[in-house]
Symmetry: C2
């Protein structure tokens, strides 16, 4: 029973924060720049966020949660036959790439290290989450699908995959227009599958990748 709050304010602030943090980082971003970009006064910021760091963490957490949700699509791969596998994998790759591309400012925020006390090692946490997700997925697939060659160490495979993702993220953050994710993803998987999978499975998947490559 009084002046109602502007329902878009928090959203506008967060969007402005994403952009400011993405270009300047936590330390260099100024609250007044964020609020100016959102078209409100400085005081309004503190109606929605405890502090600059709180907003930063909010944005980062949001992004990582969303990403992990999207990445769940890899779980559905377990039930597939090898022949259906390649298109399904590439589809997952597309979804993840799309999410990353859509959320570039937040991605950029998260990719920076930040060893400060407040939001200690955000980039680290991000990469760590990716890596353990990849490892878990690989272990599960290794148990249920019999495609991995038996001496492929899930830790090492996870490291390689995560490293590749990190490099992709880097490219996404840096480039101004959308790269051809599909192409890169095929090229990468060709190398990885040749090295990680049982020879017969690897060869089959490689052929399937080749077919997809010609197709697109």
């Amino acid at each position: 029973m009084a002046r109602p709050a502007n329902p878009n304010l928090q959203g506008a602030l967060i969007e402005a924060g994403r952009l400011e943090f993405a270009t300047k980082g936590l330390a260099e971003a100024r609250i007044e720049d964020i609020t100016r970009r959102a078209g409100v006064s400085k005081g309004a910021f503190y109606l929605h966020f405890e502090s600059k760091e709180a907003m930063f963490e909010h944005i980062a957490r949001d992004f990582v949660d969303g990403l992990l949700r999207v990445m769940n699509c890899f779980d559905s791969l377990q039930t597939l036959e090898p022949r259906e596998l390649v298109p399904a994998i590439l589809n997952c790759d597309d979804q993840v790439s799309e999410y990353l591309w859509e959320h570039r400012p937040a991605l950029r925020i998260v990719m920076e290290g930040l060893p400060s006390t407040a939001c200690s090692g955000l980039g680290d946490q991000f990469v760590g989450a990716l890596e353990s997700y990849m490892r878990a997925t690989i272990v599960r697939h290794k148990e249920t699908m019999e495609v991995f060659s038996p001496d492929t160490d899930p830790d090492v495979a996870a490291l390689l995959l995560t490293g590749a993702i990190v490099m992709f993220c880097r490219r996404i953050v840096r480039s101004d227009d959308k790269p051809d994710f599909r192409k890169s993803s095929i090229a990468l998987r060709k190398i990885l599958y040749g090295g990680m999978f049982r020879p017969e499975v690897g060869r089959a998947l490689l052929d399937a990748l080749q077919a997809q490559e010609a197709h697109s």
Copy 2:
């Protein structure tokens, strides 16, 4: 002909700076903390460095220059027979790992992103330098050595290798005691060689890796 300057002062400052920057980052590190750690007064800092940023850049550049120098050992691989190759490669891996381990504080500094204006994208520059170094090496080896399978794209191979290195750097920065680099390096190369090299070469190198693995 007057009071002689303390010859260790600059070195002590740099060492202190490395440690402070490594734990707190550029923005959070305080000049007084650096000088206190070095056992000198605040003013002494400005006898040797223009500003905080200048010292930061100095430390980072030093580290990257040294790393690229160490990585030149990969150049000598071109003249080797496939049979001698694996021990030589692992030897190079050891040298690089050793350098990274020795310079952990500086590595940590460089791994953080820093989108600020002053030292824009230090981590980015570092990874970029690594990637283009890897790409150049791969291209050269591809021309002269005939081990790569013809459809291995140097860009993609460089991306994978660089990603792996970045993940290694991350592990080095995080761990308190020295990881077993040799073991990880063998496991990684097993996967990569299976996927990137001509089948006959790949198999030979894989066997050699297996032998090295048993040996250590």
